[in-house]
């Protein structure tokens, strides 16, 4: 004779619901916080120290007014000023070692677009005359290289800004 199917007790039902809610909330809110990747740079680059000498973003991110991608500086850009030691920071000594080894410094980008997004820096910085800080936050005040993008940029923010400033938001301008 087969047994009738077991029905869960009220306590088991409550335990199940509670466990479900806990896992759901952890997954939705806590996991994304923990799983954010930290990006470490090969050198402790100090943006503030450079900004204090009136060095503009474009001096190192060379293509910001002319290209899609503003670019990360290559060794030649650093070498222009740091052929010899000019300051007192340990980071500079490390930089000079890299330069003497004639090995390109593997700077790591904080902002990477998905493959189907084409964001033109020229369009925003030259044509739109936007300050870099509008999207990137105040990099010029940072003494330590940030380990993640100071501002997370989403398409909602693009669309909001375009709506506010009444600039065209044609799909294929960015997705093509």
């Amino acid at each position: 004779m087969s047994r009738p199917p077991a029905t869960p007790t009220p306590t088991a039902r409550i335990a199940f619901v509670v466990a479900f809610i806990v896992v759901f909330v952890l997954g939705l809110f806590v996991w994304p916080l923990l799983s954010g990747q930290e990006i470490a740079q090969p050198l402790e680059f100090n943006h503030l120290a450079h900004a204090e000498y009136d060095i503009e973003c474009v001096d190192c991110h060379t293509y910001v007014f002319t290209g899609l991608d503003p670019g990360l500086p290559d060794n030649a850009v650093c070498f222009d000023c740091h052929e010899e030691v000019i300051g007192e920071s340990p980071a500079e000594l490390l930089l000079i070692e890299w330069l003497q080894r004639e090995e390109e410094i593997p700077w790591r980008p904080l902002y990477l677009q998905p493959a189907h997004v084409f964001f033109s820096h020229r369009r925003h910085a030259t044509v739109g005359e936007l300050e870099c800080s509008v999207c990137h936050g105040d990099f010029g005040q940072m003494e330590q290289p940030p380990t993640s993008a100071p501002r997370k940029l989403t398409m909602d923010e693009c669309i909001d800004c375009h709506a506010e400033t009444e600039v065209d938001d044609d799909c294929t301008s960015c997705h093509r």
């Binding site: 084409f118 020229r122 369009r123 044509v127 294929t172 301008s173 997705h175 093509r176």
Partner: protein, 227 residues
């Protein structure tokens, strides 16, 4: 605002297929692979159709370059349930790949059969994958694609003009096929400008459009054999 159009002179076209190759390279369209060929799946945005014009014994074989017609009244855009394809202000019928759900209504609606569905993830033989065009995205499996009149080139040209604070000049924007055509059988420009090379040619008695009777108002105009 311009209304971009193309004129193809069938009398001087030699059928060399340079346009097909230039288009595929410019727009990251992969070359056919043997598996795809077995399934009849490979495609190119620009295709040369063989066409026998006259009756024997004067039969003359011709090749007939066929891109998207960028219809002024396109049937394809009307059937898209998610607005993944539409016509822009400058008359280009564009495809927004991240929006496309792959239902393929548009491929059925297009009377010129110039829309292609990606049955699988595209791949390139080595070392071609190293030389893809960074200005054009790689379409994933499951979306439809087609000729865009190389509209990334138009955007670049617009950006350059805007950055230099001037208007776009004639000849600054040209699709890859037109640029490469060795017999100079293809012309490109603003159909609304009465003096442009395409406008002038589109008004000659040699000009005709494909399946004109459907009312799609194609912006690719062919020139038949000269007198």
């Amino acid at each position: 605002m311009a209304r971009w159009g193309m004129v193809i002179d069938l009398d001087t076209c030699t059928g060399c297929q340079a346009c097909t190759i230039a288009c595929s390279i410019e727009n990251n369209v992969p070359p056919p692979d043997p598996d795809g060929s077995d399934d009849h799946r490979p495609f190119t945005w620009m295709r040369l159709l063989p066409w026998i014009g006259e009756e024997s014994p004067e039969a003359a074989g011709r090749m007939f370059p066929r891109p998207c017609m960028h219809c002024d009244d396109p049937p394809c855009t009307k059937v898209c349930p998610v607005d993944a394809t539409n016509i822009d202000r400058e008359g280009i019928v564009r495809q927004i790949y991240p929006r496309c759900i792959g239902c393929r209504y548009c491929t059925t609606a297009c009377p010129y059969t110039v829309r292609y569905f990606n049955w699988k993830t595209p791949s390139w033989p080595e070392p071609l994958e190293e030389s893809l065009n960074p200005d054009v995205s790689i379409r994933p499996a499951g979306v439809v694609e087609k000729c865009t009149f190389c509209h990334h080139r138009l955007q670049r040209a617009h950006d350059t003009a805007a950055a230099e604070g001037r208007e776009l000049q004639e000849g600054e924007y040209m699709p890859a096929c037109v640029e490469v055509c060795p017999s100079q059988s293809m012309f490109f420009g603003d159909l609304d400008d009465p003096d442009s090379a395409v406008s002038r040619r589109s008004r000659t008695t040699r000009a005709f459009r494909l399946l004109e009777e459907l009312g799609t108002k194609p912006k690719v105009i062919y020139l038949r054999k000269g007198e």
